[in-house]
């Protein structure tokens, strides 16, 4: 059973003239790192929200580990972690308090022996007692990622996890993701930094105007389009830059 099976899914928001996602079919295997790429408004966030059961598809079907997220949202969300592009933390709580609170909301007991090693791993242990709003952009991103894996998800979805972070933070995040993937975690990775995607993802899919316009193994795509970068592949298939 694949981690994610999306079959001919369409989603159009009320008041919009065009679908945000149109006839999308996608399969992601367990233990795979899949790069979901596209410009702003291409339909990535809508797809992620449907995978988590926070949005209902108008048509088509979605299965996450065999469950329909629209029907069994809580069961799906227990197995999925999402690091959103926004820093979804409570700014007036300290880094540690944020994690403790989120642990309780996951129904877990905040275990100091589990949280502190995670904070240390991401270089935040010394600042664990400081308010999250005093953290730098990179520190917030790292804390945001920790907050997404507190419940040991089988599938981790990351939306621009390295946006606006320093080299050191980026290296920590990438190294952690590799380690988690090696332990069997399925990862959907969305980023504008295509070099990272090339290095991390086994397969990538390109979304444009809600349509999956191309997908395949990273190496195969580079070979197919006779180029050395995914940026060029994206330019060729979509006719536009990914930053637009």
């Amino acid at each position: 059973m694949p981690a994610i099976l999306i079959d001919k899914v369409t989603k159009q928001y009320a008041g919009s003239t065009t679908p945000a996602v149109r006839d999308l079919s996608l399969t992601i295997a367990r233990g795979e790192v899949y790069g979901l790429l596209g410009h702003n408004g291409a339909g990535k966030s809508t797809t992620v929200m449907m995978i988590c059961g926070l949005l209902r598809a108008d048509s088509g079907s979605i299965k996450v580990f065999g469950d329909d997220p629209a029907q069994h949202g809580p069961a799906v969300r227990r197995r999925v972690g999402v690091a959103t592009q926004d820093i979804a933390l409570f700014p007036s709580l300290t880094g540690l308090e944020n994690l403790q609170y989120l642990c309780r909301m996951y129904g877990l007991t905040p275990d100091h022996n589990k949280l502190m090693p995670l904070l240390e791993r991401f270089g935040l242990a010394a600042d664990a007692g400081k308010r999250a709003d005093s953290y730098s952009g990179g520190m917030k991103r790292r804390l945001n990622l920790i907050a997404s894996v507190l419940h040991d998800p089988e599938l981790l979805i990351l939306d621009e996890p390295t946006a606006g972070v320093d080299v050191q933070s980026r290296a920590m995040i990438i190294a952690y993701l590799r380690e988690m993937n090696a332990k069997g975690m399925t990862i959907i990775y969305s980023s504008h930094i295509l070099e990272e995607v090339e290095k991390l993802c086994q397969r990538v899919g390109f979304l444009s105007e809600g349509v999956l316009i191309e997908q395949g193994a990273t190496a195969d795509l580079l070979q197919k389009y006779r180029t050395d970068s995914l940026e060029n592949v994206y330019l060729t298939v979509s006719g536009r830059s990914i930053d637009v």
């Binding site: 926070l54 949005l55 809580p74 959103t84 926004d86 820093i87 979804a88 007036s92 909301m105 308010r131």
Partner: protein, 427 residues
């Protein structure tokens, strides 16, 4: 456990937000203190209020002296007869009022007594002629004896009416006295009697008395503190919409609400935790406002707030009001998508509900249409419930109508809030 965690999270958030703390706790204390002081005078008993009146008495006779003495002895008025050491004239008296130095000027014209006597004689002769005792008098074509009262335009209408009423009452009394005296004089003339006619005591004919509606009522009177403390407590508690909706929408905007939606089974607990925390904030506000009325305002020379003796009834009232106020904040948070929309609507709606709910002025002095409209204001229900408990000493059964309204309102708002917040989850 999740609800408790959210309550703790909200507590930490508020504790670390001095601006929010000031808005929730300090501003209402300042508001109730200032409003109680400002509205003290309009609520004050005018029997204990001495009002300066410029008085020029050119009559110097029975009527003028009687009016002067009665006004002066009432204790409510202080007659100003000199200015800068000089006796006042009609012109200087007018000047003092038109320049705004004084608020009212009473002018009793020369020969007022003499003219009143003349008019009274005609009235008595007219009465006697009806019995064929005297000849019918010639018709009185002279103008009425005019006692003039001039007011500064800025004087409050109720003060003006009170002053006019007092003077008219004194003048009516003077007329009665003169009439009775003249009547007595005529009868004596006709009968040739030297005996003094017995003077009837008119005050014993009709008596208007006030009854207390329950034991202990006479200790109380609606005053500035008794009105303003519960009224502004109500306002402050419903103003919880401001921090509550603001906090909700901020968390929605910065993505932390999305994280809650992504955590399985946490949404209900998250909303419940927020509701319970802000409910307790309202309870603290209520207790704080009562403490202001009980301990702070008396130190500032205002009456002490009377809250009755039924602590359980007070607790029930506070609980119902807090439930309604917090639920309203949740509904506003669910209904709007942006900070600006929610806070603008929240603030204006609470001000409107307060205005028609009798927070600024008691409902019974509002125009009829607004009195009808006040029936839909939860602030009016809350205020009425406070008055029931504090002043009317009502029992639980009598509290039920207001309690029911507040609880139904709270349930409706919570249902609406949950529906709206849930809709955002599955649209």
């Amino acid at each position: 456990m999740k609800v408790l965690a959210t309550i703790w999270k909200e507590f930490l958030t508020l504790r670390r937000d001095p601006g929010g703390m000031a808005l929730i706790f300090l501003m209402p204390v300042l508001l109730v203190t200032v409003m109680s002081l400002v509205e003290d005078v309009p609520f004050r008993d005018y029997r204990h209020f001495s009002f300066d009146i410029v008085c020029v008495n050119e009559d110097h006779d029975t009527l003028g002296d009687y009016i002067e003495q009665t006004l002066a002895s009432s204790g409510s008025f202080h007659l100003v007869k000199e200015y800068q050491g000089k006796p006042l004239t009609k012109a200087t008296g007018m000047d003092l009022v038109s320049s705004g130095r004084y608020r009212a000027f009473l002018y009793i014209p020369a020969h007022a007594t003499q003219r009143l006597n003349g008019k009274t004689a005609i009235v008595v002769q007219s009465l006697m002629s009806g019995f064929g005792i005297m000849d019918r008098p010639e018709r009185d074509t002279t103008d009425a004896v005019e006692i003039k009262v001039v007011f500064d335009p800025v004087i409050q209408i109720n003060v003006k009416q009170s002053l006019l009423y007092a003077i008219e009452k004194i003048v009516a009394g003077a007329e009665n006295k003169v009439l009775m005296a003249k009547f007595s004089e005529q009868v004596k003339k006709m009968t040739g009697s030297n005996d003094t006619m017995p003077r009837p005591d008119l005050s014993k004919m009709i008596a208007v008395t006030s009854e207390k509606s329950y034991e202990g009522f006479d200790e109380l009177a609606m005053n500035s503190v008794q009105h303003n403390v519960p009224a502004w407590a109500m306002f402050a508690m419903f103003f919880i919409v401001f921090p509550l909706a603001g906090n909700f929408i901020k968390e929605r905007e910065d993505g932390s609400l999305l994280r809650m939606r992504l955590i399985a089974g946490s949404r209900f607990h998250f909303i419940a935790g927020k509701y319970v925390f802000h409910f307790f904030v309202c309870q603290v506000q209520f207790v704080l406002m009562l403490a202001v009325g009980l301990f702070l305002l008396p130190l500032l020379g205002l009456p002490r707030l009377v809250i009755g003796n039924e602590i359980l009834h007070i607790a029930l009232a506070a609980t119902c009001i807090s439930l309604a106020a917090t639920a309203y904040g949740m509904a506003v948070a669910g209904a709007f998508r942006t900070h600006q929309q929610a806070l603008t609507f929240g603030a204006i709606s609470v001000v409107l509900l307060a205005a028609i709910g009798g927070v600024w002025v008691p409902v019974y002095v509002l125009p009829h249409a607004l009195q009808v409209a006040s029936n839909i204001s939860p602030l009016s229900w809350g205020l009425e419930l406070c008055n029931d408990v504090f002043l009317r000493h009502t029992d639980f059964r009598q509290m039920l109508p207001q309690v029911s309204k507040l609880l139904v309102f709270a349930a409706a708002c919570l249902g609406l809030a949950y529906f709206l917040l849930n809709r955002q989850n599955t649209r």
